[in-house]
Amino acid sequence: MLFWILVATLTAAVAAVLLLPLLRAAAGAEAPQSHDVEVYRDQLEELMRDEKNGLISGENAEFARAEVARRLLAATDAVKAAGPVQPARRSNRLAQIAIVLVLPAIGLCLYLRTGNPDLPDAPLAARLANPGDDINFLIARAEQQLVANPEDGAGWDVLAPIYYRSGRIEDAAAAFRNALRILGPTPARLGGYAESLIALSGGLITNEAQEALRKSLTIEPNDPRAQFYLALALKQEGKAPEALAAFQEIVKASPADAPWLPLVNEHIASLKADGAAASGEQAGTALGNPTADDVAAAQTMNAGDRNTMIEGMVASLAEKLKNDPKNFDGWMRIIRSYSVLGQKDKAAEALKQGLSAFPAEGEQGKQLLALAGELGLTADGGVK
């Protein structure tokens, strides 16, 4: 309400200011030529001063004086010829109406079209003082504290997984790194750090990530996450038999109802299938999987190129799945890829389409759901 009062006051004030000249008694304008006369007189005076100060020679001054005097005469004649200007006695009613109407009309029409009168201001300081349950603000607040005290390891510990979940992978990696530096290694931190590095490289398990994972295994030898990623690394490097052995090792060590088993089994199945096929690469390429060459190439690329390459592969896979939705491995891969690329909404969309091809009641549908659970996706398009 206060806003509209202010708007009305502002409009009225501006209109009043504009109306003032119209309400004054109208005086006639003077002939424009009378100004010229003044100017030439002024020029003559200036000339005299210049001559007196020795800035212009007597001869030149005489020339100039003659010239200005000629113009002065002509201008004086023109003023006489023009005669006195009659003051306009016409009423300005129309102009007054225009001012009173045009300002509010333009102001309101255009403002209501483009403005958001109900939206309150939101200066950062005020929002930080009263953050509510807004995740953005929990992050912002923690960040401000960490700027003031960057050695607060617990702060980094809290922030790192939040960064990771909200897609700020690079910040997550930095935060995990800080937490590791200040508070020392734990499997959770090392695993989180490795996962952010993997996400940063678009799903590839880099040497740095492997190093962190191995370190994690020295502390907690039965950490399935570390084991899984290291096995996946072997698969990515094209060492199929070693990878198969490593995955089977995980299955042996895991309880029978472990949530990650379907995913591990999927890898075992695909590795076995690859082994059975005459050429492992063919099956891989058919699904848009990076070949060993691709991986080697990816390792020499910079992060930007690598992401482009991965996005390209994902796009071609999506195209294939559109034409042939009965490709279970394809769905598993694309859901994982999207969530690695941080595109959670696309991942959820792919999950939905995958489930329509493989109903949730079936074995394969269950595997899709298990994967979704692991990645924090729900089938109705949301993110858990």
């Binding site: 004054r24 100004h35 003044e38 002024d42 483009t114 200066p123």
Partner: protein, 662 residues
């Protein structure tokens, strides 16, 4: 609520502008002072409204109100306060609002200080200003609204473009806009004169201060931009003939021509029609520059956003204003009375030469800038017109102009004596030769053209001083008299001399740095040394650092001369975290007017780093000269006679302000 109030103020400003665009014109046609008076009041009101709006946007940026889309896109809660301020105009929407602010500021200045203008002229000038203001505020509100809001308020902004996070950006655009938009006043005066069908005797006097002010700001803006590109982009160059640079340089050339022809018009009533045309042309070039930069036709750091509707909108504005003004000119020019006569060899003649060359130069640069665009639009072929074209054409055009510069002020009005002026310049030529050779030998070697260039530069400086010597009579009359006369010279004479000296200084800088600069690209490991410009640089290693919103890697260099440590310098690469964007922060050390410039490249696998080292002899002369030119502009502007401009209206008052001007 504050944000929305700022938004509404902008809408209201459009409303007032529309009234200001229409009513004073009717008032002038009907000799109705009340209607004309609306122009004055409305101009002040529009300025206050736009200032309110701009203030609100600034407030939103400073308080990091991310509910404003513009703030979210171009700010960050952690950047230093100064970049929260400069971020207001470091983006398309905000910079257009700044454009509006300056435009309405100039209108308000005309309204406040225009009391001695004839009523009809003032009314028409303010109306034309309002046409421009209406068009641009409509453009802002419909296509580039800085007050767009976000309902789902983000927690953090996307940060200001890192290359724009620099003190140079805080100054460069406002100065440039003051120049661009300042010429709008000249344009409005020209169009107003055409509407009335007559040019007042004092027209040139009223236009000249605006031209001077705009020109001074534009000079400063271009020099600032050039220096900013030099130290921020890390390429070591100071002028690239980049289309965006040209877009600001073309109005400068046209404006310089306008400045000189307005001088002829003021003193001699000659070149009236030409001056009016130039005033229109200069602002048209400013508009064209705005179009090129804002439409996204050019992709560069300046094209903040590429949105075709904006381009089309500005193109329509461009066609309306430039086309309209030229049509009006075509209709009315024949009715205007031509001015006084003069012999070819005279001050007027020299200024005509100046105008011819400057406008040709502006046309050349314009052609070089537009030709690739037009060709691409018509045939799809991509060509680039680069430095060789401009250096060849523009350089050759400038040569006779630079030679003639010292002659101009020495020639008499109406009919001059070329031989006499030449004789008087004899000393200047001699000094120029001696000084040019001296610099040449100090820098050792270099192409022979460089010698000619240096001589030319030194000759221009000496020639400009000759004018002051001769007019004060130093050597002819007693010392004290000469000193008194020198002090008594009109400020505009000093302004002329300073501006011309500045041009000479810039020329020397350009020639010296082009001919004598050295460049080394080496891979350095800690402990290695490289020689540049007589100094030895030792690379000491890299260090990681962290700023408020970036991380950086800085290389440390020790600078030695003949084995003795002179100074040390840092050169760094930064990575701005929010945008993941790298920038180089070149290390620059100044020795006299020369600089050592070190830029870090990529790191190598073996721990070395690629380092580019330039020795830039006398490079500071380029911008130092521009500073001197600006001082010339400012001194001229302070000339009292110019400031008064016209006689005071009341005849009874014996002009209290007109006490002896010198």
């Amino acid at each position: 609520m504050i944000i929305e109030l700022g938004h509404y103020a902008l809408v209201l400003a459009l409303g007032v502008s529309i009234l200001q665009a229409i009513m004073p014109v009717f008032g002038a046609a009907r000799a109705d002072r009340a209607l004309m008076e609306i122009g004055t009041v409305a101009a002040k009101a529009t300025f206050l409204l736009v200032a309110l709006s701009f203030g609100v946007l600034t407030y939103a940026h400073v308080t990091s109100d991310f509910s404003v889309q513009n703030v979210w896109e171009n700010s960050h809660s952690q950047i230093p306060l100064i970049y929260k301020f400069s971020g207001v105009w470091g983006n398309h929407e905000g910079s257009m609002l700044l454009w509006m602010l300056i435009l309405t500021f100039f209108s308000a200045l005309v309204a406040v200080f225009g009391d001695n203008l004839p009523d009809t002229l003032k009314a028409n000038v303010l109306a034309v200003q309002a046409w421009i203001a209406s068009a641009f505020s409509l453009f802002i509100l419909l296509t580039s609204n800085p007050f767009n809001r976000l309902v789902d308020v983000p927690g953090e902004g996307r940060d200001l473009n890192p290359v724009l996070q620099d003190i140079g950006l805080a100054i460069h655009p406002p100065l440039l806009y003051l120049g661009y938009v300042g010429f709008s006043v000249c344009f409005s005066f020209a169009v107003a004169a055409l509407i009335e069908g007559r040019i007042d005797a004092a027209w040139a006097r009223w236009v000249r201060p605006w031209t001077l002010a705009a020109w001074t700001c534009l000079t400063a803006g271009i020099a600032m931009g050039s220096y900013w590109a030099y130290y921020e982009l890390g390429w070591g160059g100071w002028w690239f003939w980049d289309p965006v640079e040209n877009a600001s340089f073309i109005p400068w050339l046209a404006g310089t021509a306008l400045l000189h022809s307005a001088l002829v018009m003021e003193k001699r009533e000659a070149l009236k029609i030409w001056t009016v045309l130039l005033a229109i042309l200069t602002f048209s070039m400013s508009l064209l520059g705005t179009f090129l930069v804002r439409s996204g036709v050019l992709t560069s750091v300046h094209a903040f956003a590429t949105d075709p509707t904006r381009g089309v909108f500005i193109l329509v504005i461009l066609i309306l204003f430039i086309g309209g003004a030229f049509s009006l000119f075509a209709f009315r020019a024949a009715h205007l009375k031509a001015g006084g006569l003069f012999a070819p060899i005279s001050r007027e003649g020299a200024l005509v030469l100046n105008n011819l060359i400057l406008t040709t130069a502006a046309a050349t640069v314009l052609t070089g800038t537009l030709y690739p665009l037009v060709l691409e639009a018509l045939t799809g072929a991509k060509i680039s017109v680069g430095a060789p074209f401009f250096n060849m054409t523009f350089g050759l055009l400038m040569l006779p102009l630079l030679l003639a510069v010292p002659f101009g002020p020495l020639l008499a009005w109406k009919r001059g004596d070329l031989l006499g002026a030449g004789q008087r310049l004899f000393a200047a030529v001699a000094i120029g030769l001696a000084a040019g050779c001296a610099i040449y030998y100090a820098q050792h070697g270099g192409p022979i053209m460089a010698l000619a260039g240096l001589v030319l530069g030194a000759y221009m400086i000496a020639g400009s001083l000759t004018e002051l010597f001769l007019r004060s009579g130093i050597g002819k009359v007693a010392g004290s008299v000469a000193l008194r006369r020198l002090a008594g010279l009109p400020r505009s004479v000093f302004g002329t001399a300073l501006a011309h000296i500045g041009l000479g200084v810039t020329l020397i800088g350009i020639v010296a740095v082009t001919a004598f600069e050295t460049e080394h690209i080496v891979e350095m490991k800690p402990g290695m040394t490289t020689d540049a410009g007589g100094y030895t640089l030792r690379f000491d290693g890299l260090r990681d650092g962290k700023g408020p919103n970036y991380t950086e890697q800085s290389g440390h260099f020790t600078v030695m001369r003949a084995g003795v440590i002179v100074t040390e310098m840092w050169s760094s690469k930064r990575l701005y975290t929010a945008r993941r964007m790298p920038t180089t922060e070149a290390g620059i050390k100044t020795f006299g007017s020369s600089q050592l410039y070190v830029s870090l490249g990529d790191g190598m696998a073996d721990g070395g780093v690629v380092v580019r080292i330039w020795w830039k002899p006398m490079i500071l002369c380029i911008w130092g000269g521009a500073l001197v030119m600006m001082m010339g502009g400012a001194v001229s502007l302070s000339d009292r006679r110019l400031r008064i401009g016209a006689p005071s209206r009341a005849k009874k008052q014996k002009r209290p302000v007109l006490e002896p001007a010198q």
